[in-house]
Symmetry: C2
Amino acid sequence: MPDIVVLPVGVVRSSLTDPREAPRQPDEGAPASRIELTPAAAVAAADLRPGDRVIVLTWLDRADRETLRVRPRDDPDRAEVGVFSTRSSHRPNPIGLHEVTITEVTAGVITVGALEALDGTPVLDIKPVLTDVARR
Amino acid sequence: MPDIVVLPVGVVRSSLTDPREAPRQPDEGAPASRIELTPAAAVAAADLRPGDRVIVLTWLDRADRETLRVRPRDDPDRAEVGVFSTRSSHRPNPIGLHEVTITEVTAGVITVGALEALDGTPVLDIKPVLTDVARR
């Protein structure tokens, strides 16, 4: 299968800078963050509005892509399992999924609620959370 | 920002071969499908079991990456909107998210329920649907 080149559409700006302090899930203390978009991505984002629930896809660039098995939550009392059974960031393609609420939109910058991604994390895509057929 | 190279971990095998016949969402008639994994990915998938709810991430390789605005569902009566406000496959990084139930697991092959992806679509990742903290 051919390689696939992904082009970041933006970057996360966050107070989270140390991987050891990053919460594992957004309900565990993630901060509000900004997403700075490229000019083309700002066109794609032009109809996003405060209050929208979206899924932000990120590239977890500090993850280890060689890891295939992990102990969930690094807990030594838990058995090692294949990474596809976990949300570990360490996996062959470390794409993060972050369901967040947009709180502010300005030219090229989207502010969102709790986002568990380190400062500088590339953003790959933003999608609406599917709610009803009318919005698809 | 640097380019990012994604390496497929598998491929979708499906009766869907014509993009014009592909359903837009899984509750609109998508068929059961198989995911054929690479040997390394089979290690990462070794703890997946029938009944597991997972999110399959795909690379929608027949999408147009230059599209920034679309009419939702190609409906001429709807206004054009930025693609980040839609689930259109046409977007800068056409990563598909498919929430499915695993029905069968054999060596290197995972069979899942309704999956709206064309035959040959590269698979990038498989993640458990987050349900409760204990499973993280």
